[in-house]
């Protein structure tokens, strides 16, 4: 039977077809069989395997092909298998060979099969000819690709030539890696503009800043396998059951497998995640920094911290305090923020000073402040004091979308570092990410306003030189003199700055892709021109989209884009796993691959421009694009992706380019520091710490976690960065061997905790004291409730894709305001009543529920943000964390009145 099936599957790119290859191996045969069985079993129709029944009789096997892929939605980055028949996606199941999810999937993932086929897919370019129709769902008319591309290129070039500070690109943590890399390259090297920032600014920026502050490298040290091994889980303001469902299934499976495993859920509302926790600790919004400091204080004052670990791996610091809150447009330029983010914003202190700073955070003080009982706080602190417990902290938006989000990231690291619970199997802090490739694209290939590929920074001369070499640019092209040749030395506008400037009339050209800012930004009253600021109506706005969204209502041109597996793409998830989704079906109508759209615009805009005497476009994109043909040099997206990947991969494999490698190693002593005594300390980039593998390895391995090392001809991922042990077992053997601390004889020093923090300058993480400071707003007589927003299981972000799936829409058809029954009684409202939720920033109407998905305590209300008819972000404020510029979506003060 299986033989027959395999003979009927001819596709050379699918895992099934591996088995029909002439060199049929046992492994590929078993794999193909498993894949086919998985698809068929999930289809609930094993009879389909023999083509004798079920629905149509040929599903799953007959003429179908199975493609390796990655889910389109959340930051879990689950591997999925996509079965295609008759040119259509017919089923999606979990990929058992992808270690991120091991075959598990969630309801959104399974229904991906329908996401491509909702009504109203955008299939033709659209142009708005009458500006008066902006802000409405009418006024866009169909146009040819040339017409739309010419118009966009003409506008972009005009603004670029006139004043490049007035243009911007808003990118995304859903933009595949190759597309993100090309976009960043066009913007930063082609246009010499840093006004490009991703929507990941709204979800991960606080985590990023803290990673760089503490470890001098981005992204977690651990991996998802920690979920299978931990003794204690602590979720900090994270509703994993709905926002990271498959990871939550792994967490609960671990608990079910061992009754001694515990889960503490800390948050401001009860959620589905609380339901299976051993204990839920509800704290007053914003007081989590105090709770973490309270734990640290207990560890230090009771001498229950890991002394050897701390001595070997930690240095202590303090930083600027009383940061205020960022709401006004000029706030970034204030003296306070300049101090906080400048070189003087953090300074070294002694451990004893750190201990003194913590003293205020007694159980009593913290309990009064947070509302968590002293007994519960002590119980939590004891978890960290127990040297035999493997503890995994998990957090995401509750911590990151926080007016002191960077500080809270610091504070979680502080307690893990003090207790020595770091980078060991089942033990360590784990920052979850929100989107499927917020790590892979937004963070790793440089679509942030301050970054270049591979965590490099635009403001660092050595980093710019390195990038120039790999991009084939003359030395100094990206800037070497702030006055005469600034290039891209100065970071560009971050997301909120871009949209504030847009509303103020200071942005003339905006292009967005893979996001729906008109639904997802905070303070939409400000940004959508519903208040006094009308700049959005005057700017020229381009939106690349798959379905009509609110953002399209403000667009002058809409590019219809290929969606998910309608082109080849790559995602990088929260455990540093890079994985590929194969092109499996064609896009509908005239919809195109985003990379094709970008190249078309870039060719037009850069026409006639030169870099170092050579044609600009050819210098940057000549390896993939034929200008005469006005198309890629190769029809295969796989081949184009490989070329781009190899270029990006060189950033993380410096020896592939000897000139770049000299810069990586600071050969010639150009970038380091010379002390007063003349001693020179070289500046080594240590870029192998992020090593990536050749493109095909990600397909054959169903994703790999970086750094990826070549060992005896095989490429092996790393599960635990900085942890000593064999590479084959997932430890960071080669990273430590290359960059780890050595004695005078060149021998690696063995360290407590079995780790080596080799990316930090002194081999020591920074434990920085970060105090509690109150939220930007606090409830008062006029606005007595805290309003919190977030995602729920069935819908992804603003619902533009998941709401087209009938089943997902039926399961969660309406955004409801979850309220505490006591609050309802006080206000005289009951389940089903419509109310007006009003803040200092805007208002919206919504239906009340006391039996909703979440259960807020009195004084707190919650509503998700997926529903455009409710548009809760009209009222959410846009105060942001001063260090990360990430807005605080969780703590807007509102009034509630019956509508």
């Amino acid at each position: 039977m299986v033989e027959k099936m395999l003979n009927e599957v001819p596709d050379s790119t699918s895992i099934v077809s591996e088995a029909v290859n002439s060199e049929l191996s046992r492994r590929s045969f078993v794999k193909a069989t498993a894949a086919t069985l998985a698809v068929a079993a999930a289809a609930g129709t094993l009879s389909s395997l023999v083509g004798c029944g079920g629905q149509g009789g040929v599903l799953g096997v007959g003429n179908s092909k199975v493609y390796t892929s990655v889910c389109r939605f959340c930051g879990c980055g689950c591997g999925v298998l996509c079965e295609v028949a008759g040119g259509r996606l017919v089923s999606v199941t979990g990929d058992p060979d992808n270690a991120s999810n091991k075959g598990l999937n969630c309801v959104k993932g399974y229904y991906l099969a329908k996401v491509l086929y909702g009504k109203d897919r955008l299939t033709k370019p659209l142009i708005r000819k009458d500006k008066a129709t902006k802000g409405t769902d009418s006024g866009l008319t169909e146009a040819s690709w040339d017409e739309a591309l010419d118009l966009v290129a003409e506008k972009l070039k005009a603004v670029w030539k006139e004043d490049k500070s007035r243009l911007a690109f808003w990118a995304s943590g859903q933009q595949p890696i190759v597309e993100g890399y090309l976009t960043a390259k066009f913007w930063k090297a082609g246009l010499l503009s840093n006004n490009i920032d991703p929507n990941a600014r709204l979800c991960m920026a606080s985590a990023v800043v803290a990673f760089m502050n503490v470890f001098q490298t981005d992204e977690p040290a651990g991996c998802y396998e920690d979920l299978d091994l931990a003794d204690v889980f602590i979720t900090w303001g994270a509703n994993m059951a709905e926002a990271h469902p498959v990871l939550y299934s792994r967490l609960t499976a671990r608990k079910l497998n061992d009754s001694n495993v515990k889960h503490y859920d800390l948050g401001t509302i009860k959620t589905r995640t609380s339901a299976s926790a051993n204990k839920t600790m509800l704290f007053k919004p914003g007081t989590d920094n105090a709770i973490a400091n309270c734990i640290a204080n207990y560890l230090v004052s009771e001498e229950k911290y890991d002394k050897k670990f701390v001595e070997a791996h930690c240095q202590f610091k303090a930083g600027t305090e009383d940061l205020g809150n960022a709401y006004e447009d000029g706030w970034d330029a204030t003296d306070k923020l300049q101090e906080a983010t400048g070189n003087d914003g953090v300074w070294g202190i002694e451990f004893s000073e750190y201990a003194d700073m913590l003293k205020k955070y007694t159980f009593k003080y913290t309990s009064e402040l947070s509302g968590v009982s002293e007994a519960d706080l002590k119980e939590l602190a004891e978890v960290f004091a127990d040297k035999n417990k493997k503890v995994m902290s998990l957090w995401t938006m509750g911590v990151n979308q926080h007016n002191r989000g960077t500080w809270m990231n610091h504070n979680i690291y502080n307690i893990h570092l003090l207790s020595g619970k770091f980078a060991q199997p089942g033990c360590g802090p784990f920052s979850l990410t929100g989107q499927p490739t917020a790590c892979g694209t937004a963070r790793e290939v440089g679509t942030f306003a301050h970054r270049l590929p591979a965590d490099l920074l635009v403001a660092n001369g050595q980093h710019r030189r390195y990038t120039e070499v790999l991009w084939g640019l003359p030395s100094g092209y990206l800037g070497d003199d702030e006055e005469k040749n600034p290039g891209i030395m100065k970071p560009g506008k971050h997301t909120i700055k871009i949209f504030r400037d847009l509303s103020n009339g200071d942005i003339d050209f905006l292009w967005s892709a893979h996001n729906n800012w008109a639904g997802s930004l905070p303070n939409l009253t400000r940004f959508l021109g519903k208040g006094e600021k009308k700049g959005i109506m005057d700017a020229f706005i381009v939106v690349s989209e798959v379905y009509p969204t609110l953002s399209c209502d403000y667009a002058d041109v809409v590019f219809p884009a290929a969606m998910w597996i309608e082109r080849e793409g790559q995602f990088g998830n929260a455990e540093r796993r890079t994985a590929i989704f194969e092109k499996a079906v064609d896009p509908p109508g005239d919809a195109k691959w985003d990379a094709w759209i970008l190249m078309q615009v870039a060719q037009r805009v850069l026409d006639g421009e030169v870099i170092g005497g050579n044609d600009s476009f050819d210098t940057l994109f000549g390896t993939i694009w034929d200008k005469d043909k006005k198309d890629f040099i190769n029809e295969s997206q796989r081949e184009i992706s490989k070329i781009v990947w190899e270029e990006y991969r060189t950033f993380t494999n410096p020896t592939m380019n000897p000139t770049a490698d000299d810069i990586n190693n600071d050969v010639g002593d150009k970038f380091g520091v010379t002390a007063d005594d003349g001693t020179y300390t070289p500046a080594k980039l240590k870029l192998f710490a992020k090593q990536m593998a050749p493109y095909d390895e990600y397909l054959s391995n169903h994703g790999l976690t970086w750094p990826v090392r070549e060992v005896d001809g095989k490429w092996l991922g790393t599960k635990w960065r900085f942890a000593a042990g064999k590479q084959e077992d997932g430890f960071d053997e080669y990273g430590i061997a290359q960059y780890g601390q050595k004695d005078d004889a060149g021998k690696l020093i063995s360290k407590p905790g079995n780790i080596d923090l080799y990316k930090t300058a002194k081999y020591k993480a920074s434990v920085t004291f970060r105090p509690y400071e109150p939220p930007a707003e606090n409830p008062d007589a006029e606005y007595p409730f805290w309003f919190c927003t977030g995602r729920l299981l069935e819908h992804w972000h603003t619902g533009s894709m998941t709401r087209v799936v009938p089943e997902l829409d039926r399961a969660l058809p309406e955004a409801l305001l979850d309220m505490n029954a006591a609050d309802c009684e006080k206000l005289g409202v009951k389940d089903g009543d419509m109310v007006t939720v009003k803040s200092r920033h805007g208002e919206f109407n919504i239906r009340v529920s006391t039996a909703g998905r979440t259960a807020p305590p009195a004084g707190v209300v919650f509503a998700p943000f997926f529903a455009k008819e409710t548009l809760i972000n009209l009222a959410v404020h846009d105060y942001y964390d001063p260090l990360s510029k990430e807005p605080d979506y969780k703590k807007t003060c509102v009034s509630i009145t019956k509508a």
């Binding site: 079920g54 008759g86 309801v107 399974y110």
Partner: protein, 110 residues
């Protein structure tokens, strides 16, 4: 005449069948594999009793597979080691509401 009518009738039937087959061939393949949603009266059942509650009707037990004959049986890959014989759910698949959302309208999955 009768033979002609019968022949025409047969030709017509064959033509209709061919047309049906042709359009069936052209029609997009149906989508499968999506987990069925739970009807409205299942609201709060998982939240009340967890996977064990679901197993009572949908699982493989002494009363049969499924134990409630009117319920839909859980697929075999939901069991430990992918086997009904184990009569125990794979712990990774015990968050039933991760895939089987309840539809407030009570409709089942298409």
């Amino acid at each position: 005449m009768k033979k002609v009518i019968i022949a025409l009738l047969i030709i017509a039937i064959v033509a209709v069948l061919c047309a049906l087959a042709y359009f069936a061939f052209l029609a997009p393949a149906p989508q499968t594999g999506m987990p069925p949603l739970a009807p409205a009266d299942h609201a709060q059942r998982f939240e009340t009793g967890g996977a064990d509650y679901c197993y009572t009707c949908h699982g493989n037990g002494d009363a049969g597979n499924p134990q409630d004959k009117d319920s839909k049986a859980l697929p075999e890959n939901h069991y430990v080691d992918g086997s009904y014989d184990n009569k125990a759910l794979d712990p990774g698949r015990m968050m039933c509401n991760t895939c089987h959302a309840v539809t407030p309208g009570g409709e089942a999955a298409e």
